[in-house]
């Protein structure tokens, strides 16, 4: 008990004098805050991108592409093949109709807000069943398109990032125009970066004839995946690949994993720099306080007490730096929406930075790590000092 009390009283004394040593304490705080802010921002970017992409996938939905294609853009399936697959067992039915839709995925050039040149926006032609298969999609403004017309609806993200995609606006497609009639949200997933139209209209615009890019299926339950897989694989002359939507979108999010690793690598490199800076500061903080430490020891405080108190001081400074860094990253970036070229689909995906609890936790762990390494050697050094020698340095 008395050990803890001693540690607390020495810590208390140290902390009260922090303000007098604000210069060198600030160095530790700023160094750590910088590292944590950098790491948290990069991780928040990765987190935002990956959750946007992987949010899209659900286990009870299946996506079918041409065998050999890794993305919808490079895949083609004939509408007759969609009919063939629709008689597979394991597909949920709605009012007697199998829940399957052929969808056309293409890209279209439009101008991003504030940009000079054009960017590639995903354009998806869908069937009425597509909406039943994805109940999370809701029209938040305006109305849905009417089948058989050149009307389009626009995802919330696309509406936000691009010029001329508000309700009533028209976009030029070949020699005609398509009118925006609604805006939809979709649980923050990748579809919010897309433009949707009727499949037949899209096939006309992109000259695809009776060809779609992919099929999407709602399963009776996720356990019936194998039934569909087996049916498609054993059906003669059907060169198709069946995968769950979760699986498909996880593979698409590899870019986010790279940003995440990049963020960690940069965060750790910075942390090493911050460790050096913290070590320097703590060493000189200790050396200017040698007399104080010697006095404490002469009064009967144990070396371990001094060690523990200095460590607590270092960790408190580190934690302050970590919280400051996380706060900076949060204020600057949380919810900040950007869009980038997604790998595989050659088109833009909009996403928001997500400074989640997990990301902050990683940042704070880094901060404590730096505080610990930066504090332990100088503190150990101080605690081991000979009392008389320490006092002599007056």
């Amino acid at each position: 008990m008395s050990f803890i009390r001693q540690v607390l009283s020495v810590t208390n004394m140290n902390l009260r004098s922090i303000l007098e040593r604000s210069g060198s304490s600030l160095v530790i705080i700023i160094g750590i805050a910088g590292s944590v802010a950098v790491m948290v921002s990069l991780l928040a970017m990765a987190e935002g991108l990956s959750s946007t992409i992987s949010n899209t996938g659900q286990d009870d939905r299946v996506i079918i592409l041409r065998d050999g294609s890794g993305s919808e853009l490079s895949s083609g399936v004939a509408m007759t093949e969609v009919d063939t697959v629709s008689s597979s067992p394991g597909i949920k039915s709605l009012d007697g109709e199998p829940m399957i839709a052929g969808e056309l995925f293409a890209i279209i050039d439009l101008t991003k807000k504030g940009a000079d040149s054009t960017s590639n926006l995903p354009f998806r032609g869908v069937q009425q069943m597509s909406f039943e298969i994805r109940p999370e999609l809701t029209i938040i403004e305006g109305r849905n398109f009417t089948s058989g017309t050149a009307e389009i609806i626009v995802g919330k993200g696309a509406n936000n990032q691009y010029e001329g995609l508000d309700i009533g606006d028209q976009i030029k497609v070949r020699d005609s125009f398509a009118t925006v009639v609604g805006i939809f949200s979709s649980n923050g997933d990748v579809h919010e970066s897309e433009i949707w139209s009727d499949l037949a209209a899209a096939q006309g615009i992109f000259r695809r004839g009776a060809i779609a890019s992919s099929m999407i299926i709602r399963l009776e339950s996720k356990d019936t995946f194998d039934e569909v897989g087996l049916y498609v694989e054993s059906y003669p002359n059907l060169e198709l690949k069946v995968q769950t939507e979760t699986n498909f979108y996880d593979n698409q999010s590899s870019g986010a994993d790279l940003i995440k690793i990049f963020g960690q690598v940069v965060g750790y490199i910075m942390a090493i720099g911050a460790v050096f800076a913290a070590l320097n500061t703590m060493y000189s903080a200790v050396s200017t306080r040698l007399v104080e430490i010697g006095t404490l020891r002469a009064l009967g405080f144990k070396g371990t007490t001094v060690l523990a108190a200095l460590m607590i001081e270092a960790l408190i400074l580190a934690m302050a730096g970590g919280l400051l860094g996380a706060a900076i990253a949060y204020i600057l970036f949380n919810g900040y929406t950007v869009s980038t070229l997604a790998g595989g689909s050659f088109s833009q995906t909009a996403f928001a930075f997500a400074v989640t609890g997990e990301v902050i936790q990683q940042g704070l762990t880094l901060a404590l790590f730096v505080g610990f390494i930066g504090g332990v050697f100088p503190a150990w050094n101080a605690a081991r000092r000979d009392i008389t020698e320490a006092l002599r340095s007056i």
Binding site: V27, S119, L258, V266, N280, T340
Partner: protein
């Protein structure tokens, strides 16, 4: 040089501190090198021989094809020299990670790229052999291909009539004399166009060589004007602008990564500057003693600056060296979202320049206060 002893004693005064300072500067420069290389990748201004090539793509999206009939009409435009075309082939060689662009092209395609050097007999073999393929030297090296090898490519966008794998015969390689860009493959248009399942007779985009680069803008406008309000409107830009469009699309992300790296670099430098002035403050009495025995103010200032230069340059060199050693790892990471990054000599040069600037900025205040020291006050501090 005769004063080197004094500078050295300053550096050796607290070896641990010198060591730590050098290494914290080294980490800053490690980040600097990393940031520079990523920045270069994001702003990749691909070196083109000249601005005498235009790319004509569908106005709807660059992935949409254009009709063959456009060729003659583009050729008729005043100032146009040669018109060739290509189509994005996609496809996979064995594994998906073995990615490289593959383009079906007409056999006079290489005339438009005079900066490419084809291996001997490649052009002739390509014209003669309908399944011929010419690849960049880098690709041939990467996969250990020899001329005469048969290369299987699994189809994705372009299935073959009757299905199955596409097979091409390697008839030659090319090297690029103006840039590192030699990682693409070219296959015979005629073979591709006849054997593909659909869209026969429609090229993807046109490459237009023009006679005078100064006319690029007006010719581009004229071409787009030709097809205005048709089913296949076009968008024409110089090759350089076209590739910059992709870099811009990755856009914000590159900017964010760069500004974050810059922020971290300056944070570490700030800490280092602080350490440096601390070191000088501690030494006030010694500097006073030097002054008392007759060293001039200017010399004292130079001593402190020299120390700062030593720390910064040593740190920069170590940082760049570590970056160089770790580079294969970084480029492996970066390839997924920014394309290839390169470690060029320009990174080393800019790092040393920045080290000098840093040395001046972080050394000038302590040096100035050392210079202005009053001998009596300085000695009294003892």
């Amino acid at each position: 040089m005769k004063y080197w002893m004094i500078v050295k004693s300053g550096i050796n005064r607290k070896k641990i501190r010198t060591f730590m300072t050098v290494f914290s500067i080294a980490t800053a420069f490690l980040l600097f090198s990393l940031g520079r290389s990523v920045a270069v990748a994001f702003n990749s201004e691909v070196d083109f021989a000249g601005n005498d090539r235009l790319i004509v793509v569908s106005r709807l999206a660059f992935t949409e094809s254009l009709p063959m009939a456009h060729k003659n009409r583009i050729e008729a435009v005043e100032g146009v020299d040669t018109v060739v075309w290509r189509q994005w082939f996609g496809g996979t060689y064995k594994e998906r990670q073995n990615f490289f662009p593959k383009w079906p092209v007409p056999d006079n395609y290489f005339d438009v790229y005079p900066e490419w050097e084809l291996s001997e007999g490649a052009q002739e073999a390509f014209s003669r052999n309908i399944t011929g393929m010419i690849v960049g030297k880098d690709i041939a090296d990467q996969f250990g291909w020899e001329i005469g090898d048969r290369i299987p490519i699994i189809a994705d966008i372009w299935p073959k009539k009757g299905g199955g794998v596409w097979e091409f015969d390697l008839v030659g390689t090319y090297t690029n004399s103006v840039s590192e860009e030699q990682g693409e493959a070219f296959i015979n248009w005629k073979y591709f166009d006849e054997a593909r399942l659909y869209e026969t007779g429609r090229p993807g985009n046109y490459i237009v060589k023009i006679e005078n680069p100064d006319q690029a803008e007006s010719i581009a406008k004229e071409i787009d004007e030709l097809f205005k309000n048709s089913l296949d409107e076009t968008k024409t830009s110089t090759e350089e602008a076209f590739s910059r469009m992709f870099a811009e699309q990755i856009g914000n992300i590159g900017l964010i990564i760069n500004s974050v790296l810059a922020a971290s670099f300056f944070t570490i430098l700030l800490l280092t500057g602080n350490t440096m002035s601390q070191a000088v403050r501690e030494r006030t009495p010694e500097l006073g003693a030097l002054k008392a025995v007759g060293f001039s103010d200017r010399l004292i200032m130079l001593f402190v600056l020299a120390e700062s230069f030593f720390l910064c340059v040593a740190g920069a060199l170590i940082g760049v060296l570590i970056a160089y050693l770790l580079f294969p790892l970084f480029s492996g990471l970066a390839i997924g979202f920014s394309g290839e990054i390169e470690f060029s000599i320009s990174i080393v040069i800019s790092a040393i320049l920045v080290a000098f600037i840093t040395a001046v900025i972080s050394g000038v205040l302590p040096a100035y206060s050392a210079m202005r020291l009053n001998v009596v006050d300085a000695l009294r501090k003892n």
